[in-house]
Amino acid sequence: MLFLAMWTGDIMFANTYELIVFILNYIGIYDPIYKVFESFGLEYLLRIIIVLVEIAALFVFILLTVMFLTWMERKVVAMVQARYGPMVTGPRGLLQPVMDGVKLIGKEDIIPAKADRWVFTLAPFLIFIPALLIFIPLPFGESLIISDLNVGLLYIIAISAISPIAILMAGWASNNKYSLMGAMRAVAQDISYTIPLALSAIAVVLFTGSLSTVDIVTAQSGTWFGFIPKWFIFLQPLGFILFLIASIAEMGRIPFDFQESESELVAGFFTEYSGMKFAMFFLAEYAHLFSVSAIVVTLFLGGWSVPFLNFIPAVLVPLVSLGVFLVKTYAIIFFAMWLRDTVPRMRIDQLLNLGWKIMIPLALLNLLVTALLLTAGVFK
């Protein structure tokens, strides 16, 4: 019945909240519940509860994703390195992340004697929370978005700029030279790479005229000549490459993992952390890996949209689009993991050279050419 209702009308919801309300309405329990709340004059409470349910679902999704990613990372590395990877706990080692979590919870929470206790304790939270906040304007699928902010892209870039502050706090508060150097590197790196990242994202915004992530995705639906999907990667190949490189630098992964660079700085800025505080950094890192890959997909690879699937019944669209989105995101994640296994780390000054002398000029050039072509009406 629900299927039919959605099938006939061309329903699209602005966000998951509306989707939930629609489903509740359809089942017929929304109105009674609403009346109960209304009788106490607490309509807003219902809204809050539904939002909390959404957030809980998202949180569980992120935690499961992070756990899966740690397992996947080990398996991909093992595949490249001719090993098995985790095999003992659970089928093919799938429960390994659970065991890791149990181990980390059981560990002593050490705060070094000369550390700045408050800042030291605050830093892991400050890095973990932005990693979660980034997920708010991410379109996981049609109607599957927590909130379609009209400044979505700007919000993402702004939120991801918080993490270097947390890294600097962690590095400084640890009172450890390796930590401090790792933190300094992270900040230098982030400043150099946020600029090309933002510039190449702006080139995409020039096409859509909107910062909303949903608008960016819908702008990429459809095809040219019937077979080339209208993804921005084809309009912005240089922008895509720049954005991808800058994203990998943002994620802090090899070849740009200077904040850690374990063979030089032991473990970089979280050298002194242990137990759950260490786990927070770890979670944030993998949540970041997923969110940044998702942003790459949203901006350049068409997000959840996929051509040639117009025949899918409308009710399945949220599910199918979620699947499409995950496949694309995991492809980018796999690329990042693959890269990690095959290339060595660059040197910090080479990284900064690449950022300032090559990537920023190229991003500016890309932006200029795009703007000129758009003004000339080439893409109309």
């Binding site: 150097m181 070849p255 993992d257 660079s261 374990e262 063979s263 296994d341 095959t342 060595p344 660059m346």
Partner: protein, 382 residues
């Protein structure tokens, strides 16, 4: 603008100092102003132990010098003893010795390259290297029962003959290895970032390299054509066809390429050894011209006596170990124990160049330059 100095103690417990080495670094931000290696954390007094053990008892201690490649250590000491006592060695034993040493050279270079790449952040190479190393270690295990500390080469020959099934497995290893080296080159040499990290980093010219006492692949990376196997031939090396791998650049990349080339040459040598392996005894018996013996030999007569006394005298004997020139200076006073054992280890001499090599470079370059020198701390501290 003048900034404060940062003094970092890198080590003795640090992921990329390859053991218990400590660098005292005076840093200006990321640049190294001064680097002082501090050694001695693994000092075990091996040379002094040499004075207290009989000649045969000391051989296991040589295993623990450069534990990545123990066969050449065995051989270097045994060669000194043989020269001292004038012991002849059966030809088959010499072939087996060269076989083990060249296999060990491949193992050593695999570990060297792997750990270098791991220090640079690419962990794949060390896993691939260890995959091949495992096969080689299994071969060693077949030979002498041990995987790293062999105690296999003895005065007068080797402890036991090649076991059954060894040769087919060795041939398989050689065939495998020839393919794998191509893989390594594809993984590493074709990588732009690797070139960026290695080229023109840690440059040392031939004159300085010689003055620092460099030997081995590190010296040959600076364009000095010096290989004891060629220029002071020992064992069966005069009969073998191989070339000395030299690069002229003198940077980290050259030292790395020399190691890859040497692995290929070692494979070439191994093929010749396998093809020409003669048949004879593998250890000279007591009547092979050992000077006076104290006590009676405890084992069967084909075994070399456990206790023997070389005539009084002294000898310095050196070989081309995988890491460079390994020399043993042995003084005998005509008793059952050496009067003095002095070890000239390649790792120690090569390490001395580090401070001038990395001055003004970044901390990441220190790791890279140090990795290409290929130091084992057991060999440095002795």
């Amino acid at each position: 603008m003048e900034s404060d100095e940062l003094i970092i103690n890198m080590g003795p417990v640090h992921p990329s100092t390859h053991g218990v080495l400590r660098f005292k670094l005076r840093m200006d931000g990321e640049s190294i102003k001064e680097c002082t290696p501090v050694i001695g954390y693994l000092h075990r007094g091996t040379e002094k132990i040499g004075e207290m053990k009989t000649y045969l008892q000391f051989i296991p201690y040589t295993d623990r010098l450069d534990y990545i490649s123990a066969f050449p250590n065995n051989y270097a000491f045994v060669k000194a003893v043989e020269e001292l006592a004038g012991i002849e060695v059966p030809i088959r034993a010499e072939y087996i010795r060269v076989l083990t040493m060249e296999l060990n050279r491949i193992v050593n270079h695999l570990v060297a390259i792997g750990s270098l790449l791991m220090d640079l952040g690419a962990a794949t190479m060390i896993m691939w290297g260890f995959r091949e190393r495992e096969n080689a270690l299994q071969l060693f295990e077949m030979l002498c029962g041990a995987r790293m500390t062999f105690n296999y080469i003895k005065p007068g020959g080797v402890r036991e003959d090649i076991p059954e099934g060894f040769m087919p497995k060795l041939n398989e290893f050689l065939k495998d290895m020839e393919k794998r080296i191509v893989d390594y080159e594809q993984l590493i040499n074709g990588n732009e970032i690797f070139h960026m990290r290695m080229k023109n980093i840690g440059v040392i010219n031939a004159k300085d390299a010689v003055n620092f006492g460099w030997t081995g692949p590190t010296l040959r990376g600076s364009g000095v054509d010096y290989d004891l196997r060629k220029y002071e031939p020992y064992s069966i090396y005069p009969d073998l066809d191989f070339k000395v791998c030299v690069r002229n650049e003198g940077d980290s990349f050259a030292r790395f390429i020399v190691r890859i080339d040497e692995m290929k040459e070692s494979l070439h040598i191994l093929r010749q050894v396998v093809d020409n392996m003669p048949v004879s005894k593998v250890i000279s018996s007591a009547e092979y011209g050992i000077a006076p013996m104290t006590g009676t030999p405890t084992a069967v007569s084909t075994y070399f006596p456990r206790i023997f006394t070389p005539p009084a005298g002294e000898v310095y004997s050196r070989i081309e170990a995988p890491k460079g020139e390994l020399g043993f200076y042995v003084v005998s006073d005509g008793t059952t124990k050496p009067y003095r054992v002095k070890i000239r280890s390649p790792s120690f001499c090569n390490l001395t160049a580090i401070p001038s090599l990395v001055k003004g470079l970044k901390i990441g370059d220190l790791i890279a330059a140090f990795g290409t020198i290929d130091v084992v701390l057991g060999d440095v501290d002795r």
